[in-house]
């Protein structure tokens, strides 16, 4: 009984702390930058990580198996992964804005697990015979950590896209004037070269005087998303391959074109494409970020969509 109350205490505390962290980091984004609150944010993130770690350990002890057997436990593990990434990256680099991505992700994953799943799914059940293997630890841990890192990296890429798109919207007046007056197909053809000239002129001016910090931020975002995704990619590789080896040990076949396996492969392919497009001349920045943003949705399909909709070896069979 005490295990359950402990779990309750830990989940509630960690959720509150993650919410607080999100608040602080987003406040920093809006230039609320008081030193004590920053330190408080760091401490509370560390404490939240500690709480979720303890929760997972207690769950492991109380159920007797590694705490990664159903959607609830894997979502808590995902949120733990986000806090871990946050702490590692904040220690490694001096940037303070990574928390804007990782803190809300951790909070949302946590919230999904604790608030939106029905009570039956939260119970720790016995493992079915197919899951009783030591490979469970390696395969599912690697997959969840890789999801956390890849989601983090693709969120940074989405941020980069948002920033670059808003950069082009610095001249709303000019654009709307032309569009209102000459809103026809024929005239647009005449307008295009004029617009381009004016835009490029204006862009040059504004680029030098105002957008240097934005440009620097874009470069940093690009590099950080690249590095984080390059870290997630080997983890995903190890996860997929350990799953294949496990399948071979359990059922004699290392690849069955199961929907979850196939979508994990698709995720792997998309991120491999991302890593390779960066090598094409002149493609740094926006175009790989589009692919990484596509990867964001594909990771979600792989993690949740397949389980909820599909049949096969991995299904929870929830919606269908």
């Amino acid at each position: 009984m005490t295990f359950i109350t402990l779990e309750h205490i830990l989940t509630h505390t960690s959720f509150f702390l993650l919410f607080f962290c999100t608040f602080i980091y987003w406040g920093k984004f809006l230039y609320i930058n008081i030193k004590t609150i920053t330190i408080l944010g760091k401490i509370s993130m560390k404490f939240a990580c500690f709480c979720i770690t303890s929760f997972l350990l207690i769950r492991w002890i109380s159920s007797g198996h590694f705490p990664l057997s159903n959607l609830y436990e894997s979502s808590m593990f995902l949120s733990w992964g986000f806090t871990l990434i946050h702490l590692i990256l904040e220690n490694k680099s001096q940037n303070t804005w990574l928390g804007i991505i990782t803190a809300p992700s951790a909070m949302l994953a946590h919230g999904f697990a604790t608030l939106s799943l029905p009570k039956e799914m939260k119970e720790s059940l016995f493992l079915v015979p197919a899951l009783q293997s030591n490979w469970l630890m390696m395969h599912v841990t690697m997959m969840m950590l890789s999801y956390a890192t890849l989601l983090c990296g693709s969120l940074l890429a989405i941020t980069l896209l948002i920033i670059t798109i808003t950069k082009q919207k610095n001249f709303p007046i000019l654009m709307s004037y032309f569009h209102l007056s000459f809103n026809s197909f024929i005239f647009q053809k005449f307008l295009q070269p004029i617009e381009n000239e004016i835009f490029s002129y204006k862009q040059k001016k504004i680029f030098y005087f105002i957008n240097f910090r934005k440009w620097q931020l874009i470069k940093e975002l690009d590099n950080w998303s690249y590095r984080i995704i390059s870290l997630g990619f080997p983890l995903l590789t190890i996860g997929i391959l350990s799953g294949a080896v496990w399948a071979n040990e359990a059922w004699g076949s290392y690849w069955n074109w199961d929907p979850k396996e196939t979508w994990a492969l698709i995720t792997w392919l998309i991120f491999a494409i991302y890593l390779h497009t960066r090598m094409i001349k002149g493609w740094q920045g926006k175009k790989p970020a589009i692919i990484a943003s596509l990867g964001f949705f594909i990771v979600w399909i792989c993690y949740l969509g397949v389980n909820l909709l599909g049949k096969g070896l991995h299904s929870y069979g929830w919606l269908v």
Binding site: F126, A130, R227, I238, G252, T262
Partner: protein
């Protein structure tokens, strides 16, 4: 802006002085040389810094010596595409150097073909003459295959088709598609069963276009590794020293430190894990070179996995059996070959006897584990015994037997105190919730109008009885010793006999695939490493430092800045010697005044 293009030329007898003299006349550009001797040949590395588009063909006629055309090979700089982005004209540069006829004809031909192949690859318009000999045709195909855009297109296509395969149900009987995708209500306006079956969309993963795409990807991997990656690694391995400050401006990060010493920087770099080389006033340090090798390993590992998977698909055997407890089967009877590379094995003559099949249950009735006790035997003797369960298969002589399924085969009962009789059970429901049933007829009225007792069971734990009218009578556990009265008959359940579902596999490709898996896991982790390079030049009392990193650009800048911050600034450069020692955890700086005045 002057940029440099580096390449390697094997000129066994070229004399440095003469070649240098000739190159000085060359079009306003600067040529620098590095003579490099290896054990078998003397290699002359020619570095050309040229301005703009340099096609100096017309100058050759002015010199009297026969020209040898030397040009950048397919790869001319550590990161080819980056350099091409910076200086597209320079990638087209052709520098011609007279070698005074010291090359043999074969060497000239080799250089000539290298020039053609390189200018084909580096010039976007491709204005040189085409050579249609088989060798260059093969080289042309290889270059086309190594195109990155093609590889990315292939990956996208494979991803898209795989996704399609998860949406459309695969490997179902044609009737399923007739029902699910009727012609009168096509999905999205065009998807009917006809399109699905015509285009092999019911078995996408084994269709010709999917396998063809994978084959094309394998070809691209081979082409990429041989034409791009291997030369790139050769270039990255070379140490180069930057002797003039101009080169430092072009690096990703560069700085000038006043009153600093090269040796201090060297010590600090070594503490950070760099390998440091210094020659005179210059220094070169690098770290993470493995990160350049590892992508080749990734490609090779992928090829290994594909080869192993092909071997699995067309070699080896597989089969499934459902064997009631107490019976046996011959291994060879249960196996079917996978394809043309399947080779029979002596293990197929053995017999497998199912000694016992039992299920462990938890207190709440859920299944905990399935077990089968198996014995392998040849006609003379028992060879091997093992109890297998779901994650624990039996391996013998290349054959692996997995516990994958189970069923109930019979219920053993005593009817009115008779000897035990086995009533064979039939499967009424398959899948996760199995149901088996059997029938004990009463009376002699023939099969059509037979009335009797229905006996049903879901698992080995309990048996349910229904009487002639179909009414529920009771439940009994096998072996409990309690008989049940049904329609005047007393039935005692002795035992429920299960069948074990075994899957047999002989897969020669598994070792290859496992090797590929291990290699891929390792090399993809190592690929994360970033190859960082630092150059330094001592100019008088100031130290010019520059560096670059191929992957971790921001992290490298932060780290290099930290290192440069630690380099001590000397107050009195001539007289003071500063001892810097750096271990893993700390850097110690001691200032020592020199004793003599000079």
């Amino acid at each position: 802006m002057a940029t440099s293009v580096k390449w390697q030329v094997q000129l066994p007898n070229a004399k440095l002085g003469k070649a240098f003299g000739v190159a000085r006349n060359f079009g306003g550009g600067q040529v620098r040389f590095l003579r490099w001797k290896s054990s078998h040949f003397s290699v002359l590395r020619i570095t050309a810094a040229a301005k703009g588009n340099v096609r100096q063909k017309q100058k050759i006629s002015q010199t009297s010596k026969p020209p040898v055309v030397v040009s950048p090979g397919p790869i001319s700089a550590p990161s080819l595409t980056e350099r091409e982005a910076e200086n597209e004209e320079l990638a087209n540069a052709v520098v011609e150097i007279a070698s005074e006829g010291e090359l043999s004809n074969s060497e000239k031909k080799e250089l000539e073909s290298r020039r053609l192949s390189s200018s084909n690859s580096s010039s976007s318009g491709g204005g040189s003459s085409w050579n249609y000999s088989p060798r260059s045709l093969g080289r042309k195909i290889l270059r086309e295959l190594s195109s990155l855009q093609l590889a990315i297109g292939e990956l996208f296509a494979i991803a898209g088709l795989s996704a399609l395969g998860t949406i459309l149900e695969q490997n179902e009987a044609p009737q399923f598609y007739f029902d699910a995708y009727p012609e009168d209500k096509p999905l999205f306006g065009f998807l009917t069963w006809r399109t699905i079956l015509d285009y092999d969309l019911d078995h996408i993963y084994s269709s010709w276009y999917y396998l063809g795409l994978i084959l094309l990807l394998a070809a691209s991997l081979i082409a990429c590794s041989s034409t791009r990656q291997l030369p790139m690694v050769k270039v990255a391995r070379r140490w180069s020293f930057m002797k003039s400050p101009a080169g430092y401006k072009k690096l990703q990060i560069s700085d000038t430190l006043e009153r600093a010493k090269l040796s201090d920087l060297a010590t600090l770099l070594m503490a950070e894990g760099f390998e440091v080389f210094s020659r005179g006033p210059t220094l070169y340090a690098f770290r993470g070179l493995a990160g350049r090798y590892a992508p080749i390993g990734v490609h090779i590992a992928l090829l290994l996995i594909m080869a192993g998977a092909t071997l699995s698909a067309i070699g080896g055997y597989h089969g499934t059996v459902m064997v009631p407890q107490g019976l046996d089967f011959q291994i060879g009877d249960a196996l079917q070959p996978n394809g043309i590379l399947a080779r029979p094995s002596p293990v197929m003559n053995l017999q497998v006897h199912v000694d016992k099949f039992y299920i462990d249950y938890r207190p709440n009735g859920e299944v905990s584990q399935f077990h089968s006790d198996l014995t392998l035997a040849n006609p003379r003797e028992e060879l091997y015994k093992k109890s297998i369960s779901v994650n624990d298969p039996l391996r013998y002589g290349g054959l692996t037997m997995y516990q994958t399924d189970w069923a109930l085969s019979a219920v053993q009962v005593r009817v009115d105190g008779s000897d035990p009789v086995n009533l064979v059970m039939a499967s009424l429901e398959k899948g996760d919730k199995k149901l088996f049933g059997t029938f004990l007829p009463l009376g002699e009225e023939g099969l059509e109008k037979a009335k009797g007792i229905s006996i049903l069971a879901r698992d080995l734990q309990s048996v349910v009885f229904y009487d002639q009218e179909g009414r529920f009578v009771g439940v009994r556990r096998p072996g409990s010793g309690r008989p049940i009265e049904v329609d005047g008959t007393s039935i005692l359940v002795e035992d429920v006999i299960g069948s074990t579902g075994l899957e047999l596999k002989m897969d020669p490709g598994v070792p290859v695939v496992y090797a590929g898996f291990g290699a891929l896991m390792l090399t993809s982790c190592i690929s994360y490493l970033s190859h960082s390079q630092v150059w330094a030049l001592q100019e008088g009392t100031s130290l010019v430092v520059g560096g670059k990193s191929n992957r971790a650009k921001v992290e490298f800048e932060i780290q290099l800045n930290k290192i440069l911050d630690l380099v001590p600034e000397l107050k009195n450069f001539e007289e003071e010697t500063v001892l810097v020692s750096a271990s893993d955890s700390q850097v110690t700086i001691e200032r020592k005044e020199s004793t003599d005045d000079k």
